[in-house]
């Protein structure tokens, strides 16, 4: 087990290193050169030369990469010339809001998806299972941004019961005090996750219900409730726990879309705005942070699986 965790950890570090290489290559793929990308197309050669000297772009590539890694190791994600602030600072300002949105949406999604999945597994291949499966299939095929806009159209414009934009407060507290504005963004993100999570829950539950120990439990004369919740559910929750770690990339992508639909001032909106203003330092810095999040998510999911399920030994 310790060996497995250690190996898995090493593997993650290798992947992380490769990601930094990819980001470094992308930075050099920018149209023109980094100086032009940062300073705009109209800079004069002297400014470019000064910029290159200042940032070490006149040095050999391997040296530049080393400096890049060194900066990253010190938490320096780059500097946004468009916003005149360090990417790290911009990220730190927005991050708590994104975590709030993602956290709420994930909690709602799990709270709905697990009972739904159990229901579908128990009523397998009956009418309600077909209906729910069909609904989640269609939801799964929805473009996230369109889902958000349709929700706005229905709940804000037609029914006038919820505000169409997210709270614009600068702190988490201010956002929470304007909780009505959070309902639609959380609902949008949660609906997409529910569609995926409930499918997994359904098949995990069906797998569990087909096990020998369930038959044994039935033979012992246990009640249906005890079989479902004490024996089947606990084992079905193991794949669900890892699924949450593995769904980080999907959830992050969903956050980008949802935040721009509802104008929610989180990291995703920052990212989209950076793409509009061609602020490549922010784009590259945030992509790297997202990748680190995904790598950690995968690591936690893999190790979590080994910890939660004592039958698995590496």
């Amino acid at each position: 087990m310790t060996g497995y965790v250690f190996r898995r950890f090493l593997q993650s570090i290798v992947v992380l290193l490769l990601v930094t290489i990819i980001m470094f290559v992308m930075f050099h793929l920018l149209p023109g050169n980094p100086a032009k990308a940062e300073l705009g197309p109209k800079t004069n050669p002297a400014t470019v030369a000064a910029f290159d000297r200042l940032n070490g772009f006149n040095r050999p590539v391997w040296y530049q990469f080393w400096v890049y890694l060194d900066h990253l190791a010190h938490g320096n994600l780059g500097f946004s010339y468009v916003q005149n602030a360090s990417v790290g600072l911009l990220f730190a300002q927005r991050f708590p809001k994104t975590i709030l949105l993602l956290g709420l949406a994930t909690i709602v999604a799990i709270a709905v998806a697990i009972p739904l999945g159990i229901l579908q597994a128990v009523r397998r291949n009956k009418f309600d299972d077909y209906m729910l499966t069909g609904t989640s299939f269609v939801l799964y095929s929805f473009p996230t941004f369109w889902l958000g806009i349709v929700l706005i159209e229905i709940f804000s414009i037609s029914l006038h019961i919820l505000p169409p934009t997210a709270p614009e407060g600068t702190s988490v507290g201010a956002i929470l005090s304007d909780w009505q504005g959070m309902i639609l963004p959380v609902m949008t993100l949660a609906l997409v996750s529910i569609a995926a999570y409930s499918r997994y829950m359904r098949s995990a539950m069906i797998d569990s219900l087909a096990q020998d120990y369930i038959r044994t439990a039935k033979a012992k004369g246990l009640s249906q409730k005890a079989i479902l919740f004490r024996h089947a559910l606990r084992n079905s929750l193991i794949p669900m726990a890892t699924l949450i770690g593995l769904s980080i990339p999907a959830v992050l992508s969903g956050a980008v879309i949802t935040e721009s639909v509802f104008n929610y001032p989180g990291v995703g909106l920052l990212f989209v705005q950076a793409a509009d203003s061609e602020d490549f330092s922010v784009l590259l810095g945030l992509t790297l942070v997202a990748a680190i999040g995904v790598i950690i998510g995968n690591l936690v999911a893999d190790i979590g699986y080994a910890v939660l399920d004592p039958r698995i030994r590496y």
């Binding site: 593997q11 290798v14 992947v15 490769l18 990601v19 290489i21 990819i22 992308m26 793929l29 920018l30 149209p31 299939f137 269609v138 799964y140 095929s141 929805f142 473009p143 996230t144 941004f145 369109w146 806009i149 349709v150 706005i152 159209e153 414009i157 980080i248 990339p249 999907a250 992050l252 992508s253 980008v256 879309i257 721009s260 990212f271 989209v272 950076a274 793409a275 509009d276 061609e278 490549f280 784009l283 590259l284 945030l286 992509t287 997202a290 990748a291 995904v294 790598i295 995968n298």
Partner: protein
Amino acid sequence: MADVIRPPEEGVQALEEQEFYPAGAPAAALGPLAMDGDLSERFEGGEAHTTGSPLRLTLQTFVENKVAIAGMAILVLLVLFCFVGPHIYVTNQKTVNPAFSNYPPSGAHPLGTDNEGFDVLGRLMVAGQSSIEIGLAAGLCAAIFGTLYGAASAVAGGAVDNVMMRIVDALYSLPALFLLILLSAIFSPNLPLMILVLSFIAWLGPARLVRGEALSLRTREYVQAVKVAGGTQTRIVMRHIVPNAIGTIMVNTSFLIADAILALAALSYLGLGLPDTTPTWGGMLSNGTNVIYDGYWWQLYPAGIAIVLTVVAFNFIGDALRDSLDVRLQRR
């Protein structure tokens, strides 16, 4: 027993029969898959007569699947709508006409007109053409490149395989939408470049899947035989691994197409898609969202429903294909 297609009930019986064969039974006795050999040669040999070939069996179960029929039906209708429709329902989709902008649905314009005076129904057809074409092209490109990459990685083995797959791991840890937005911002793509960008984020899945298949395929006797006979690695990949992994690839490709259509729509919404000269469903939605507060709902729903239908159709087809492959595997 290998050469007859059985209805599902008899398939179970066939499965039971197999258990009587000892572990070292001749390959021919173990049913269609064990003697699969070189699929591409069977294609050339006239697929109509080789009843019981894995492909035939797969297609058979696919056609019997209701979900598959539904998916195919939706897709055929959509393709007719987008590609034949504009010849029947002729509209002007070239010149902007502000005098006709934002008309609600009426007899002359069944789905109204948009902000620039284009007929929404007509635009839905034209935009569908590019949306479906780009999705198909990106999905296919990704599948082809991913397949070759995965197969090459598995056949090469050892350190090369390790490095190639770590690259895939690294790219996989960049969330697709982030990478997509980043690449679009860097390249501001035109149509061919957009297809490349979309396939660049999509080839990782097939690469992993095909490598997994190829790892097991390369240890089979017939691949070993090719090696012994002095066949090149290219030959092993192209003539043996790819044809045998074709089922997995087909399933995956239909999901890739669905994802590419969604990704393109998301990009268009964020303002990073193709210029308005190439109308797409995502572009229509993007324009439609600007006017929802004016109550112009007819600009918001049609394109969205078209996207959902298309994606559902490709997902249905993928799901049904996977099911029919499973059935094929069960009958082995």
